[in-house]
């Protein structure tokens, strides 16, 4: 029997493309690209999954990408500048939906936390666990801006 502790890359691509096509009016599928430098990411949004499967789902965005997510999800005009509250809410909801869909692929039952959004790096951890390792990641470019989705699991659960 094979026990899988992280979702397949193809599943992440499918989830991200579903979200982008429904909430962000994206027509062309987003294609995986090489990872960008860490400094390219100005915003992070994270949600944890606990229960039958434990993981941290983290999304990272450039400043331009984050603002475009907020503008489009909130139905703002192109000339409207999203404020901090807009970014927190929109990026939090996006990682909530993506995290929920990732959770549905994994052993359960599991629960989602409320999302956390931060400028720069978000600081969070799994209950009772101290060490997380990145198990799967997907780097894409949207509006020619970098966006990254990564799934981290407790080091004891990570595939070797």
């Amino acid at each position: 029997m094979t026990i899988t502790h992280e979702p397949a890359l193809a599943d992440l691509e499918s989830i991200v493309n579903d979200c982008w096509s429904t909430f962000l009016s994206n027509v062309e599928p987003l294609e995986p690209v090489a990872p960008s430098d860490r400094s390219a990411y100005a915003w992070s949004a994270a949600i944890t999954v606990s229960g039958g499967w434990q993981a941290l789902v983290l999304m990272q965005f450039s400043d331009t990408a984050a603002k475009a997510v907020a503008q489009q999800m909130l139905g703002m005009g192109a000339d409207e500048e999203p404020v901090l509250e807009d970014l927190n809410d929109a990026l939090g909801e996006l990682v909530n939906v993506i995290g929920g869909n990732v959770k549905s692929l994994m052993p359960g039952p599991s629960q989602l936390s409320l999302p956390l959004v931060a400028q720069g790096t978000v600081s969070t951890s799994l209950p009772g666990r101290t060490e997380l390792v990145e198990a799967t990641s997907l780097d894409v470019r949207w509006l020619d801006e970098p966006v990254r989705l990564s799934i981290s699991v407790a080091s004891s659960d990570a595939s070797v």
């Binding site: 429904t22 999800m73 939090g92 909801e93 995290g99 929920g100 869909n101 549905s104 409320l114």
Partner: protein, 127 residues
Amino acid sequence: MHALIIDDSRTMRSILRRIVTELGFETTEAGNGQEALDALEAGLVPSICLIDWNMPLMDGYTFVTRVRADPRWRDVTLMMVTTESEHGQIVKALAAGAHEYVIKPFTADAIVDKLELLGLTVSEVPV
């Protein structure tokens, strides 16, 4: 027709508001189940409630059970709109009295289809 949109995310409330407003619904928004119950207690009579599951203060499942336990609101249609997609959760919500269940992300067409299934026809909506 009137839709009560219950979600702790302002973004999701905005997305749903744009969809149902296009269909001719008036809308009221609540950030959690307790706010929504307060709106009903205050006399709001929605045709439908669009309900997220995970919310602070009172979650969507509790809201459904509270509404279904009160005969004053027996005619209100309840539709879960949530990221909770585990089979057990869907069964639990429907057993508690939700009429329909939509998993995020959803298209506008998916919402329209569900409203038509529920008899909340969009054909009467003025263009």
